[in-house]
């Protein structure tokens, strides 16, 4: 293992000399406090190290010791429900150790608790042939998640021994595999280098929607299990709230929330609310399916760079168990800035806006780790990793390198708009700029499971919004009063779509999560309103009159926050009222 001495300290970059056996991306310990770092360049016997902790006080001559291994994380029971830092150190336990509200550097605590015992149930027998990914046994880690203990990649052979059902620690050997005569012990915990994607049998196209309970996302720009999405937007436009909604309400088995260079309080918010909130799909506390990774903006910048790889590695691990995993990262711009900062200190040639020239390949590699796969091992399992990330463009300018590059690699785009956000139209997703390449894919699901007219109604809403945009240009020239009645109606219907459907208050107990059925019911009301009103207009009734007489409209708008997901029959009343008021209107008008 490499062993050298510090030659230079420049912020998070340390150069060490005498590092003859150093390997690229090897983890090293730097200086007397044994700060964790990673080798990112080697020149002769000089190693360039990005250090994950504050380097104050480190001086030339202090020792640098290699570990012989790349940056890796511990995977096994004990991840769920925890808050970790960017290197997967348990922040809750750090608090106990430091007895201080502040994070001290040089603290070495393992990710997984070594003492805790887990109830392991073996699933295969001594003598069975095993290959990578086979389920050795299971641990009911939380009420919601059965943790499947897998044969690590690269281990195969005959099962020489497996323990009986009982309580074990993560480092206890639960099995021994005879691998060509070698006895390989297998524990409940395994390690994996974060920068290397975990292997699988084959990558498949997504087939299922990833429902989120957020109407504009599910209905207008739908996500698929195994898909990729970016949420760019200026500060305060709702990126974090949207990601938080996804992490709360998505129909995913596991959620990994990576706070990458953002606010401390936002992580605290998740941590305090998740035990109380219930997963709408299972009714269990959300924390049971969640892992929180926090490298906040004030923590060392190099660990920020690593944190998103840590997050996606966790996701792959649960995917390999056969689960649908959602990883949200807030914000990949901060990760890119960490790359820029470290690249700059290594005196690399900067490309656009100072970002290193490999920015786009790194972004591509990251999103490449998403997808639906057939996992290694038996029994056959399918799992997926869905990646949704915030992007924080300087000045809200979407042409900057991180946003424009990200756009090339994601299949769903939820751009947030400053003027919508300022008008408090949330979620501030710009419906003219957004896109999803999964609309056709998810249509089948909606049509089969929710409403046969789903696609017709959805496309009608999209069309109306596009038409509204054109009409608004005309209004700016001639004023609203000179529009034809049918165009005035389009504006009125668009208003209804925005107020009753698109706007959704993430902080309202009822509105925050909209079941697919509820989404379809609201959409249907709007669709019917348009049908009735078009009929009325065709019979010469002015739109103004419709607006005056159809007094159920405010109730339709309020229904998102007054009608709960389990009392959708109340929509029948609204439907009836709407129909009755139009009938009345036609009768009065003698039409």
């Amino acid at each position: 293992m490499a062993q050298g001495k510090v030659a230079r300290v420049n912020g998070p970059l340390v150069v060490a000399e005498g590092m003859k056996d150093a390997q690229m991306f090897e983890v090293v310990e730097v200086g007397e406090p044994r700060l964790v770092g990673e080798i990112t360049r080697i020149e002769g016997d000089r190693a360039y190290i990005q250090v994950y902790e504050d380097t104050s006080g480190i001086r030339p001559g202090e020792p640098v010791v290699g570990s012989g291994a790349p940056l890796s994380v511990e995977l096994g029971p004990g991840l769920l429900g925890q808050l970790f830092d960017g290197l997967l150190r348990p922040l809750g336990e750090i608090k106990e150790v430091t007895k201080s509200p502040f994070i001290k550097r040089g603290i070495k605590l393992p990710t997984l608790n070594r003492e805790k015992k887990w109830h392991f149930v073996p699933k295969i027998k001594k003598g069975d042939k095993v290959e990578p990914g086979d389920i050795l046994g299971t641990v009911q880690e939380t009420g919601l998640v059965e943790h499947r203990i897998l044969v690590p990649p690269y281990v195969h052979g005959k099962l020489k021994e497996i323990v009986t059902e009982g309580d074990y620690r993560v480092e206890d050997n639960v099995a021994i595999v005879d691998m060509n005569g070698d006895e390989v012990p297998v524990k409940m915990m395994q390690k994996w280098p974060v920068r290397v994607p975990r292997p699988f049998k084959e990558k498949l196209d997504p087939t299922q929607p990833l429902l989120t309970g957020v109407r504009i996302l599910d209905t207008i720009f739908p996500m698929a299990k195994g898909g990729t999405a970016a949420i760019p937007g200026p500060f305060g436009s709702g990126k974090t709230v949207t990601l938080q909604s996804l992490s709360k309400w998505s129909e995913a088995k596991i959620v990994i929330y990576v706070g990458c260079g953002e606010r401390g309080n936002e992580m605290t918010d998740e941590l305090r609310s998740f035990p109380k909130l219930k997963d709408p799909w299972t009714g269990r506390p959300l924390l049971e399916r969640t892992v929180l990774v926090a490298n906040t903006s004030n923590m060392p910048v190099a660990a920020r760079e690593a944190s998103i790889y840590v997050g996606v590695t966790l996701a792959e691990y649960f995917r390999d168990q056969g689960y649908d995993v959602l990883t949200v990262a807030d914000s990949t711009s901060r990760w890119a800035e960490a790359l820029r900062d470290l690249g700059g200190r290594m005196e690399e040639m900067p490309a656009e806006e100072g970002f290193p020239s490999y920015l786009s390949s790194r972004i591509a590699e990251y999103y490449e780790r998403a997808g639906r796969v057939r996992a290694l091992g038996n029994p056959e399992r399918f799992g997926s990793v869905t990646l949704a990330s915030a992007v924080s463009p300087p000045g809200g300018d979407f042409t900057e390198p991180v946003t424009s590059t990200t756009l090339r690699f994601v299949r769903v785009f939820w751009p947030l708009d400053v003027s919508l956000a300022q008008a408090r139209h949330y979620p501030a997703v710009n419906w003219l700029q957004g896109f999803s390449s999964y609309v056709d894919l998810v249509s089948d699901w909606w049509i089969k499971n929710v409403d046969p007219d789903w696609r017709i109604m959805r496309d009608f809403m999209v069309r109306t919004l596009l038409r509204e945009d054109e009409l608004k240009q005309i209004v700016r020239l001639v004023g609203p009063e000179s529009l034809a009645e049918k165009d005035k109606l389009t504006l009125e219907v668009a208003r209804l779509i925005k107020e009753a459907f698109l706007k959704q208050n993430a902080y309202d107990d009822i509105d925050a999560f909209s079941s697919p059925q509820k989404q379809a019911r609201i959409m249907k009301l709007i669709y019917h309103y348009n049908q009735y009103a078009t009929n009325a207009v065709e019979r010469g009734i002015p739109v103004k009159k419709i607006a005056d007489k159809i007094t159920v409209v405010p109730d339709i708008i309020r229904s998102k926050a007054t009608i709960k997901n389990d009392e959708l029959q109340k929509y029948d009343e609204l439907e009836n009222k709407l129909k009755a008021q139009f009938d009345e209107l036609l009768k009065e008008a003698g039409a």
Binding site: A7, R8, V9, N10, G11, S56, G57, I58, R59, P60, G61, L83, L91, G92, I94, K95, S100, P101, I103, P234, F235, G236, G259, G261, R263, G264, N265, T268, L271, R272, A294, T296, S297, N298, R334, E337, R340, G344, P350, E353, S392, P394, D397, Q422, A423, R424, H425, V475, R476, L477, V478, G479, P480, E481, E499, Y507, T551, V553, P554, I557
Partner: protein, 466 residues
């Protein structure tokens, strides 16, 4: 800095540039080690090591390098980091960021030496802000509520009354139903002397001066002193909040000066500049300042942070307000056109935001209708501003009747709700009632953001009839 070493002395200076001095022959200076530079005339300055290589140390001198000569100057490496003695004795006093008194008073005697760079708060120990601070200002309390432990900056423009507003907030801010142990820590960064004195006088007049500590660097001081100012101020704030159980309001003015100092230092280090010439790490640097706010589980005190910055050319997309907005928990934005209309405080509520408000308002905290009224006022005012734009093009006469109502609402909102006196302290009920009053200008069917029950309870049309 944990590992302390002996003092080492060198006099081989190979280069002086901006605030930087390059010293040759130093084998073992520590990164961020404190350094004393002694000039031939006996004058001493301080600095820290910003790049430590075998044989070469780059030292950044706090007080600047003016007058330093490569010849005859001694550089002493002190074997420890930059620490400032912090104490509650600093309340009622004025200091520079190195802890030296600026008010002719004595040095701090009893105190705790602290590294002013601070350490990151562990997110696992943070306590989420939930207590509503009543500032008495409707545009803040009603629509962009401030909570205890929040970091909420004021985005100002040159000449706009940010200081007066900050002073009014500092004077009026209360958590209702509670006598609190409060303190104000004032970080005045590269300010003009009269600005600093404005606040001092203000607190003298309000009788609170003994609860206020002023950490100050003046406009004509070297850039490093400016960048140290908020760090020392927040170190004191942390001490008072988490060791002395005080509720601290930390006001930092003007963060634009801070960022410009940062840019100047970065340029002298020949770092690759980012947007607007500001260094690429400015986000992280600012975050290390702004994140020093909040509450901690098990501690009684709190830090509420109110940085003030000047948007160059009133441009909110300029890197300084932009990066700040990306870090803080909202912002109060001042607007020149409101100011020109004679509206005080000229708060543009649409461009303002309080991200934490949701947890501190509503039933049991302020009033049951608060969230709905706030949502409705935002929606209606946004529509009013939009309609104003339309009216300017096509003329008011071509607007629909409803749109005309929105125009009336917009004016009333600005003149009755936003506008108030410099000494006017409105309680939250008054603020919400004014909100209802201006909302009642609109047809009731437009009020879809409020629940029907609240309309029945608070709308002036029903209230009178009860």
């Amino acid at each position: 800095m944990e590992s302390s070493m002996n003092v080492r002395e060198y006099s081989n200076i190979s280069m002086i540039k901006g605030p930087l001095v390059m010293v040759q022959g130093v084998a073992d200076s520590a990164y961020n080690e404190l350094v004393e530079v002694e000039m031939p005339n006996g004058e001493k300055r301080r600095g820290i090591v910003v790049d430590s290589q075998k044989g070469i140390s780059v030292v950044q001198v706090f007080e600047g390098t003016r007058g330093i000569s490569p010849v005859g100057t001694t550089v002493r490496f002190l074997g420890r980091g930059l620490e400032v003695k912090i104490s509650e004795e600093m309340l009622g006093r004025i200091f520079n960021p190195l802890g030296d008194p600026l008010d002719n008073g004595p040095m701090v005697i009893k105190g705790e030496k602290r590294d002013i760079n601070g350490e990151p708060l562990n997110p696992a120990v943070r306590d989420y802000p939930e207590e509503f601070i009543q500032t008495g200002i409707s545009a803040i309390d009603g629509l962009n509520s401030l909570l205890r432990g929040q970091k909420l900056p004021i985005f100002s423009g040159s000449g706009l009354p940010a200081n007066i507003l900050a002073a009014q907030i500092a004077k009026q801010a209360t958590v209702r139903g509670e006598e609190s142990n409060f303190a104000v820590v004032f970080g005045a960064i590269g300010v003009r002397y009269d600005e600093a004195l404005f606040f001092r006088k203000f607190f003298e007049e309000t009788g609170a001066i003994n609860r206020v500590a002023l950490i100050m660097s003046l406009a004509n001081e070297p850039p490093v002193m400016k960048t140290l100012t908020p760090k020392t101020a927040l170190t004191l704030a942390e001490y008072l909040a988490f060791e002395q159980d005080m509720h601290v309001l930390a006001i930092l003015i003007d963060m634009t000066n801070y960022c410009e100092a940062l840019r100047e230092i970065s340029a002298s280090k020949e770092e690759v500049p980012g947007r607007g010439g500001y260094p690429g790490y400015m986000y992280t640097d600012l975050a290390q300042t702004y994140e020093r706010a909040g509450k901690v589980v098990g501690k009684k005190g709190s830090i509420t942070q109110m940085p003030i910055l000047t948007m160059p050319n009133d441009d909110i997309t300029h890197p300084i307000p932009d990066l700040t907005g990306y870090i803080t928990e909202g912002q109060i934005t001042l607007d020149r056109s409101l100011y020109n209309k004679g509206i005080y405080p000229p708060i543009n509520v649409l461009m303002s935001l309080s991200r934490l408000a949701k947890d501190g308002i509503g039933e049991g905290k302020t009033r049951d209708d608060h969230k709905d009224v706030s949502n409705q006022l935002f929606a209606a005012y946004a529509k009013a501003v939009d309609t104003r734009g339309l009216a300017a093009i096509i003329g008011e006469d071509s607007l629909s009747d409803t749109d005309k109502k929105y125009l009336m609402f917009g004016d009333a909102f600005e003149r009755k709700f936003v506008s108030q006196g410099v000494n006017e302290n409105r309680d939250i009920e008054t603020t919400l009632d004014i909100g209802w009053e201006v909302l009642s200008i609109l047809p009731e069917r437009e009020l879809t953001n409020v629940k029907v029950d609240f309309i029945k309870k608070y709308h002036p049309a029903y209230r009178g009839k009860k």
